[in-house]
Amino acid sequence: MIVAEGVHFSYPNKVEALKGVSLTIKDGEFVAIMGQNGAGKSTFVKHFNGLLKPTSGKVSVDGVETTKTSVAALARNVGFVFQNPDHQLFSETVEDEIAFALKNFGFKPEVVEERVTWALNLLALTQYRKTSPFLLSGGERKRVALASVLAWDPQTLILDEPTIGQDHEQKEILRQFIVQMQTQGKTVVIVTHDVEFVAECNPRVVLMKEGKIVAEGIGKDILTNPDVLTESSIVLPQIAQIFNKLSQLGLPKNIIDIYEAEKIILNAEETKPVK
């Protein structure tokens, strides 16, 4: 469980990036942290594995305050996948890349071998086991980076802007992957501004603006509130845009799922008054 209480954070150049943020994320939750570029989303999640420590306030992971332990110790339970896989990849083979963290954490060689094979399998990378990560395509490199974090099986997975540069199918695979992680009881936190992707996943949404949390709730409610979203410079998902306009017919506004939309519209068609 991750608990942030009254977190303030200022960068060395005195810019205050977080102005009193409090949030609790229970085990197994799926949370999307959204907001404009510069709202403080990435800054905030970097407190979860101790990369950043609050200037005031505190962050505890599983009861341990992040200031009282090391990044390596926290990383054991909080895996962080950065936006650009090229900021992580450095090994000669994909195998070595995935084994890197496992070795850092002191896993025994047999266990390392086992985990590497498991991670390769999970992300359909087995054929690239002995390939140099630099020779792979963009999407494949992203999978290697993800595999290298999953390998040590952290309870919490943080994904920073995982949908950037991904095409429709890759996003769909990512979405299914998150569902899979969820069924295994993992906590998943994504930092993103991709409303359509979040609309399809319908997680708990935390909206940030200028270093503060301005709204929090189920995706369905947050992503369909036009005032809240314009305040934090996010666009309504397409389905919500449609229903925003249809509200004059008395139809509900908080629709983001396409199948639900279909049902409601067909229902409205059947039940509309005959002239």
Binding site: L51, A72, A75, R76, F82, H87, F90, N104, F105
Partner: protein, 275 residues
């Protein structure tokens, strides 16, 4: 990273900052030349104090003092080496004259640092790049210079991100002996280098796409024009050079030791005269 803060473009408007870099450079080179010619302490002291009004006018006192502090170590080293060599080669005698000449040499070094420091503190990188362009330095060089300066903060941020990404995989940069520490930086250096190479490729594409190499006769959006202040500085520079030549050829310069002896002789004669 604070080291790179000094290279970040800071728009300060002072009369010195607005001077043409070529004129400033001519001034600095002249100071350099004059400092080399004289080995006596008095003219060097004069040169040292000559810079102070420029420092104050440019309002860069704090940074200037910092650069002098940085040079202090080397200055002491130079002093000690010179006094030491004199001491050992003259049969273990320490004379006032030796101390004075060692001080002069040290002061010469300080004057050099001081004047170059003022130059770099008061000349923004793009101003410098522009000066390079207008001085008929091949465009490739001034372009390489300004582009490098432009990307320094970007590279610094990227280095930080890469370190964070690897720390999040359990890499502990502080741990271990010297050899282990060096090896720990491999996962940071490789992504940094790979990223730099990728970046250069993208830059090259962008340059080619914007007509790089279309003509040998490049024009320039800006032009450096000489103003009153520049002419004033040029006059000062010429004045210093002429003065230096004159003093060097015709004016015998006493050493401090000489002055002290002279003074002490005067005082002694005064004492003798008084009943």
């Amino acid at each position: 990273m604070s080291v790179f803060d000094g290279l970040k473009f800071r728009k300060v408007y002072s009369p010195i900052h607005n001077l043409d870099p070529r004129v400033k450079f001519a001034y600095v080179i002249s100071i350099f030349a004059v400092a080399i010619v004289f080995y006596q302490i008095i003219p060097l002291l004069f040169l040292f104090f000559l810079q102070i009004p420029f420092v104050l006018l440019a309002r860069v006192q704090r940074q200037w003092l910092r650069s002098l502090r940085g040079a202090a170590f080397l200055a002491v080293f130079i002093f000690v080496v010179n006094v030491g060599t004199d001491y050992f080669t003259s049969g273990y005698t320490l004379t006032a004259a030796n101390v004075e000449s060692a001080s002069a040499l040290t002061l010469r070094f300080v004057v050099l640092i001081e004047s170059f420091s003022i130059f770099f503190l008061t000349t923004s990188p793009d101003h410098l790049g522009l000066a390079l362009e207008e001085s008929h330095v091949p465009y490739e060089f001034s372009f390489a210079f300004t582009t490098a300066v432009r990307f320094v903060p970007v590279l610094a941020e990227e280095a930080q991100t890469i370190m964070d990404a690897q720390k999040a995989r359990g890499l502990e940069l502080e741990k271990g002996g010297l050899l282990k520490k060096i090896r720990n930086y491999v996962p940071v250096l490789i992504p940094l280098i790979v990223s730099a190479i990728r970046r250069s490729l993208e830059l090259a594409e962008a340059m080619e796409s914007r007509a790089w190499g279309a003509t040998k006769k490049r024009t320039n959006l800006y032009a450096l024009k000489l103003h009153k202040g520049d002419y004033a500085l040029l006059a000062i520079t010429v004045g210093i050079l002429v003065g230096a030549v004159y003093v060097h050829l015709y004016v015998p310069i006493p050493t401090i030791v000489h002055l002290l002896q002279h003074k002490s002789l005067l005082i002694l004669s005064e004492i003798k005269r008084k009943p």
